[in-house]
Amino acid sequence: MEVTLRRFELLDVDAMMTWASDPEVAAFCRWEPYASTESVLAYLRDTVLPHPWFRAICLAGDGRPVGAVSLEPTADACRGELGYVLARAHWGQGVATAAVRRALAAVFGEVEGLSRVEALVDVDNAASHRVVEKAGFRREGVLRRHYWHKGRARDLVMYSFVSGDPLPQ
């Protein structure tokens, strides 16, 4: 599955609405489904466009985003947290794995001082475990009650990819 990554534009609002409004997509995400195009536009303008590393996932040959991948800064410049989201129509086809691989290949060159990319995956999010493992992340352990997700304490699995780790082909 071939994907490309590019920066978002405000014109991508309708494409983004496709996944941002979907409760099944939002289930394991930190946000609630968006109810209006206006709120997605505000998110694009205020969070996505100024973000240090946020990319649209496009299928090869198609300019319309089907999802997003981003690297969230942490307390230290050497560590970033990878997050991704994909419209439900494109689940189960290797798109997320391909996007995460592309992101890993890009961020170490593009983000100054980065040594470690982390992914924190809910213990119950089986699909995401498969994505990050196939993309070459290494599992490090379970962080107990690490995250309060929509009112409940969740155990998360910590994965990492450090500069120098091999990117799977």
Binding site: C78, S115, R116, V142, L143, R145, W148, M158
Partner: protein
């Protein structure tokens, strides 16, 4: 042959000895009046290189550190031994945007007081009270360099569970360039506290 020693007798210290009980440890707020005691660990690179806090080279820097980072801190305590002046610090820092559910434990002990069980006693006291004093706290975590066996033992003896090793977690900038170190992550949950009968 060098004689064996412990904290009370001259000679080589016995590492992490369980042979005698730790001295009586108490925790209290740290204030500007403690600046000289504070300097005894805050100016010592052997102690401070394990923390992300800057080294205090002068009394003025120590005063500024206390004023700027200690006085307004959500949970910061001086570690006192046998009712005397502070010999270290311990603090619990809730992570931003986490609703106060998760916090980080950090501590520093003056080098002369290492090997006496003070860190273990301190951490036990912290977990015994911080979950009440910071309402909503569910998870206390501690991150130590994989090479810091002393701290790992103290955390384990105090009941923390080791969850894994985080690769290239701590990056230090030294004269030779950037050095990425692995870190061990530990946690103590509010539900890990022993149940009262």
């Amino acid at each position: 042959m060098e004689p064996e020693g412990d904290a009370r007798h001259p000679g080589r210290r016995v590492e992490g000895s369980d042979a005698q009980p730790a001295p009586a440890v108490s925790l209290r707020p740290l204030g500007l009046e403690d600046v000289d005691a504070f300097m005894s660990w805050a100016s010592d690179d052997r102690v401070m290189r394990h923390l992300k806090r800057p080294l205090c080279a002068t009394r003025e820097e120590a005063v500024a550190q206390i004023r700027d980072t200690v006085l307004g801190h959500p949970w910061f305590r001086a570690i006192c031994v046998e009712g005397g002046r502070p010999v270290g610090q311990v603090n619990v820092w809730p992570y931003a945007d986490e609703g106060g559910h998760r916090a980080n434990l950090g501590y520093a002990l003056a080098h002369d007081h290492w090997g006496r069980g003070i860190a273990t006693a301190t951490i036990k006291m912290v977990v015994g009270r911080v979950f009440e004093e910071l309402p909503g706290l569910e998870r206390l975590e501690a991150v130590t360099d994989v090479g810091n066996a002393r701290s790992q033992r103290a955390l384990e003896k105090a009941g923390f569970q080791r969850e894994g090793v985080l690769r290239s977690y701590i990056v230090r900038r030294g004269p030779a360039g950037v050095d990425a170190r692995d870190a061990a992550v530990y946690s103590f949950l509010s539900s890990d506290r022993p149940r009262l009968a």
